[in-house]
Amino acid sequence: MPVIRLIVVFAIMMIAHYSHAQTNTTTLFSTYPALQELQYHPRWLKLVHYKGTGKQQESLVDDEQFFLAPTGKTSAQDELLATLSFALQQTEQGQRSRCRFPARIKFLEQNLNISLKKSSDVCPEFETWRADNNVDTAWLIFPSAYLNSPSSMFGHTLLRLDKESKSNNRGTALTANAVNYAANVDEQENGFLYAFKGLFGGYLGYFSMMPYYKKVKEYSRIENRDIWEYKLNLNAEEMEWLLLHLWELDQIRFDYYFTTQNCSYQLLALLDVVRPDGNLTNHFELIAIPIDTIRELKQHNWIERAVFRPSKATEFYDSVNALPHEQQDHVASVKSKSIADFITSIDHYDLQTQIDITNASYKLLRLDKGTKKARRKALTLLRYRSRLGKGQTDITLPVGRIKPEDGHEGSRFTVGTIANEETAGALLDYKITYHGLDDPVSGYAEGAHINFLHAQATVFDDTVKLQRFDVLDIRSLAASDQFIDRLAWQVKTGWERKVFNQQEQVLVAQLQAQFGKVYKLGKFNWYALLGGHVEHSDRYTNPYQAGPNVSTGLFHQGNHYVTEVAFKAFYYPDEDSTRQHWYWNNTWSYARNASFGIELNSTNYSDTSNQKNEAYNSLTLKTAFFF
């Protein structure tokens, strides 16, 4: 077993070296008096990703390769001494540690006022990498929320490293390197297992680098997510820290948790090394929502400016919305017409109009492709386009697109008064994050609704009662139109209080899902959805109840006013009963993080066999604060 022998020999060598280092501890302290305090230095703590102090001290890195001391994960002092001890050695091992941890070496050199690098040192891998990444600018990239993927529901963040002084135009952004922190996942793994392992830490997270165009392709073309790019105001020294430490994280393993120690959290941890007095990660120990991390960076003056990179769908709508109605109809017709017919139908327009219609039509075709026939059609249209010449560049783009970080904050607390036919009481409502159709829409996508951990309670006659607790509540209500046909859907799971008779109101566990369509009616969106539900309560004759349901409604989302009127009906075949629910909500926002609302609810329980028919109506006045 030569391999085992090799490992044993290596282990003995390591221990020998380490004990050697330990005997030298006193010597190190007397030679470098400044060392005593360095273990508490903010940059040292950030470089090894420590959290907590004393006995609670622990690094978030879960990889032995990252620590030079056997106790390095839990002791900033041991790791500091081991790093210095290795760095001082003339040996090959000393050289290896200097090549592997350039940021730590820079830190020790700066703070101990010594030179650790040896003239004989050669670090070819690092040197090549550093030369390939001769960059001067870092951008934080935020692909916005993507409802269809559990890990991307709240968006994602990554970094891009640019050589800006080389070129000020955008011809080099696509080929710049992107730095991405992600879980190492088998693509075939199913969504539920993913969600479970993601929450409880079954995945390993790594930093990786790739050309930015690969990420743009993934986000803006395949998933149709708009991307916001934020330029960070890092100076040359700060860029150096960023790159040196990034190298130390190459192939280093972290445990990945998708709500806490996720992409956004680990990027903040990386940036904390750059400006170690900032403690960016401190606000995100419980939950790290990507957009909140951007707000944190903005608040602490990290962001110089923002650039918008539209998704392919946004690009299409920008180009088609700039056209008059009758020209929009030509664009829509390209899907069903042959290209020859399409060209004939628009050739009476002037050249520039033909160009504008063709550009929009191609963008539309590109959204829906795949078959050989569709690809040939798109190519035929492009051939026609190439013969029209360049034309005038810019179509009128919508101005004043609201940046996502300027939308309301993620957490919401609501208080209100609730009145039913007999009495009045108080309403208390809290959700951890993110955005609902009853919240101000500025900075968020129309028709998108994702609430995570949302609880609502009422207080009547000094009795507090939990009315609902939604674990996850997603509504994806994007409208279909003459150009694009979309599937609308919503899914909700949690507990909701239901009335079994006058005296008995019980919390019932539920999972419900609906699918359907949304269409625009002037300023309103009208939806009709069909679905099913499963409920569990011991109060039912059969504790598990499954049945169909329907849901329809109208909603409008303006800059300061949003409203929704909805009707839902649930059928319970086992009990031959139905529950019908009417809901009308109005929310006015009077500040970025404050709103006022009026809500009407009416629930009707009817039971055909027992002729039961009970209705419960309530009116709620509420005020909400986001933070």
């Binding site: 879980a183 693509e187 993601g198 990786s208 492009l382 386009r385």
Partner: protein
């Protein structure tokens, strides 16, 4: 027609051998290659995940490719940006076209754009054209 200084490297004759000269360096995408449907995304997709062992030294997707050669870097870029390059060339402008020009070390980008637009049919010969073919065709067009 005015010629554009296109490729900084001399080995233009070996272009068809691009892939063979870079074993493991794939240019497999074709124009408008279809992406899997919504369901694929709902279930499996892009969990922000990466698979396999990635090191910074071997940037993902460039495995086995010598990207220090402009032409290889350009072919890899076209391979991943076929739709945008095609659209930009047809329009005579755009970010992907500008990036391609930069990768190919073209100085006269405006002339390059005009020439490429005028010869769109020769560059994108069919819907099954590969990135490697696009680069070869582009080269022929520019060399006139």
């Amino acid at each position: 027609m005015k010629k554009v200084k296109l490729f900084a490297i001399a080995a233009v004759a070996s272009l068809p051998m691009l892939a063979q000269a870079n074993p493991g360096c794939g240019f497999g995408s074709s124009l408008f290659e279809g992406e899997e449907g919504t369901l694929y995304h709902v279930i499996a997709a892009t969990t922000n995940g990466t698979s396999g062992n990635q090191t910074f030294g071997m940037t993902s997707g460039t495995l086995g490719c010598d990207t220090s050669k402009p032409i290889v870097a350009a072919a890899l870029f076209v391979n991943d940006n076929m739709d945008e390059v095609a659209e930009n060339i047809a329009n005579g402008e755009g970010e992907a076209l500008l990036t391609l020009a930069t990768l190919l070390e073209v100085e006269a980008t405006d002339e390059f754009a005009v020439l490429a637009q005028q010869n769109f049919d020769q560059i994108f010969t069919s819907e099954d054209v590969t990135a490697e073919e696009v680069i070869v065709n582009l080269n022929q067009v520019v060399q006139g």
